[in-house]
């Protein structure tokens, strides 16, 4: 990372943002195409496993801010680890939804984790998991669920693996929020309308517009976020651009989408 000042200028010519997200998303789309189906949460999990050299992954949807429902697991152990947490009411997936931060438990034998989730850790070790990585599927105050991965051998994620998993967690979040109630089923890729998640997801205007629309539409923030995305898609415009118009008070959305538009 270190070097002579100015050396970074060459790297700076290439945009940081889009390339990585595009590459990750392309892998998800290719995985779905390889199975001859629309993109789904199953593809996100499968790509997460290969990206992180993990042994399995799972996705749980949240209700009232806690993991509540197993949406998908890539293998039996993944399913058991997810169900274990739902049964015990403790574990990394609960923690990531409470803190909105990932839990990167690279070695479950570390005494910190035994103390943190005594029941989960002991049983996870018995099931053959030595490392567990959990990611919140959140957008600010909106909590959609949690994504978990396990490895049979202890060891940390690389920076590149972490970056890929955060991007995949974003994609899963958008897919869960796009399905309305989030319980439509495993193979529901409708939340993405067949397109890549917006690659400039992390812009203040999108978050501000979500808050504004929740008032305009009289709906929870999760639904306001989904409406914002749906509107951008229906107009074939970038999410960030539409959000900018909402924040500039040049665009209002209405409960009846037929009346959308105008300041």
């Amino acid at each position: 990372m270190r070097g002579v000042p100015g050396e970074g200028a060459a790297a700076a010519q290439a945009p940081m943002t889009d390339s990585r997200a595009v590459a990750v998303w392309s892998r998800v789309a290719a995985h779905a195409a390889g199975h001859g189906r629309p993109v789904s949460l199953a593809d996100v999990c499968a790509v997460a496993v290969t990206s992180a050299l993990a042994d399995g992954a799972w996705l749980a949807a949240a209700r009232s801010g806690e993991p509540d429902f197993l949406m998908y697991a890539t293998d039996l152990t993944g399913e058991q680890l997810a169900e274990l947490q739902l049964t015990l009411g403790e574990g990394p997936c609960h923690d990531v939804l409470a803190s909105a931060a990932p839990v990167l438990a690279a070695d479950l034998d570390d005494e910190d984790y035994g103390g943190r989730w005594a029941g989960f850790t002991a049983e996870a070790r018995r099931l053959g998991a030595a490392a567990v990585f959990a990611f919140p599927l959140v957008v600010g105050a909106i909590r959609a669920g949690a994504m978990g991965l396990y490895r049979g051998e202890a060891g940390p994620l690389t920076d590149g693996q972490l970056g890929d998993l955060l991007i995949l967690a974003d994609a899963a979040t958008v897919m869960l929020l796009g399905t309305g109630n989030g319980f439509d089923g495993v193979d529901d890729g409708a939340g993405l309308d067949g397109q890549a998640p917006d690659l400039a997801l992390h812009r203040a205007e999108i978050d501000q517009a979500t808050g504004m629309l929740s008032v305009q539409l009289g709906v929870p923030a999760a639904e306001a976020f989904a409406r914002l995305r749906a509107y951008a898609y229906s107009q074939d415009r970038r999410l960030a651009d539409v959000a900018g118009d909402v924040v500039a008070r040049q665009l209002r959305l209405h409960r009846d989408p037929g009346q959308d538009g105008g300041p």
């Binding site: 990372m1 270190r2 070097g3 002579v4 000042p5 100015g6 050396e7 970074g8 200028a9 790297a11 700076a12 010519q13 945009p15 940081m16 943002t17 390339s19 990585r20 997200a21 409470a98 803190s99 909105a100 931060a101 990932p102 839990v103 990167l104 438990a105 690279a106 919140p136 959140v138 957008v139 600010g140 105050a141 909106i142 940390p156 994620l157 920076d159 972490l162 970056g163 955060l166 991007i167 974003d170 992390h202 812009r203 203040a204 978050d207 501000q208 517009a209 979500t210 808050g211 504004m212 629309l213 929740s214 008032v215 305009q216 929870p220 923030a221 924040v247 500039a248």
Partner: protein, 254 residues
């Protein structure tokens, strides 16, 4: 240099970190004081997200043009170079850098800025972001101001990462993501409040921050409760989770 304000700033920053504190509120204190102390017109903290982005965690003003300037540095600009090299990057005259950073320099100059300085935020050998200072007049920042600016950036890094708790390298990534999501929550709350009251984003932020301080709650807790409240009334009802947090010694915060 206003030495009284400088002393107050370090006292306030240290004071804040003694308790359970809100990271974004803390970074805003830092950007506001950077402007007041360092002859800067604007200041911002950008954090490096492992997704491959620089993300704005705090800025001294929410003026759209300023936020855009920070965001532009995902693609090019002194903050990106500072992050890549881990070294401070000084740009005494932005008009001389139009070739190096055409979009960034053009946007900065048309927003009324002539000079920019990026100071790295480092924990041991890891660069987690940068403190970005903008000035309205061409010419280098005063070297003493820059030393103080770097000290502020170092204190901010420690505060941001709750560094006394950082034992595993994983913890840095976990803390950064929590901070970045706090920022998103606060932006959602600002939008909701701005729409509700017909005010601008700066005004909404100030109301949220004042309410958090006056009621001894963390800014992010207030923001989350407000975003999730069904009624949309402000101030929001406290959720079970946020609860009362006694926070002695906060009198010095402005």
């Amino acid at each position: 240099m206003d030495t009284d304000l400088l002393s107050d700033t370090f006292v306030d920053l240290a004071d804040t970190m003694v308790d359970d504190f809100d990271v974004i509120d803390f970074l805003h204190l830092l950007t506001d004081r950077s402007v007041a102390l360092l002859a800067a017109s604007a200041a911002g903290v950008l954090l490096a997200d492992p997704r491959g982005e620089l993300r704005v965690a705090a800025a001294s003003s929410d003026a759209v043009e300023l936020v855009e300037l920070f965001q532009l540095q995902n693609d090019q600009g002194p903050c990106l170079d500072c992050f890549h090299t881990g070294q401070a990057v000084a740009v005494p005259d932005l008009t001389a850098t139009v070739q190096r950073w055409p979009r960034f320099a053009g946007a900065a100059v048309s927003s009324g800025f002539r000079t920019v300085q990026a100071l790295p935020m480092r924990l041991r050998d890891q660069v987690i972001g940068a403190l970005n200072l903008f000035g309205a007049e061409p010419g280098p920042f005063d070297p003493m101001d820059l030393r103080i600016g770097q000290a502020l950036a170092d204190v901010a890094t420690i505060g941001l990462l709750h560094a006394r708790n950082v034992r595993r390298s994983e913890t840095v990534a976990e803390q950064l993501q929590a901070a970045l999501n706090s920022r998103v929550t606060i932006e959602q709350a600002k939008g909701k409040l701005a729409e509700r009251l017909g005010i601008d984003m700066d005004g909404a932020f100030k109301l949220l921050r004042d309410h958090a301080r006056n009621s001894n709650q963390l800014l992010t807790d207030v923001a989350r409760d407000f975003v999730n409240s069904r009624t949309g009334d402000f101030p929001p009802q406290r959720s079970r989770r946020s609860g009362q947090r006694p926070r002695p010694g906060r009198g010095g915060l402005s």
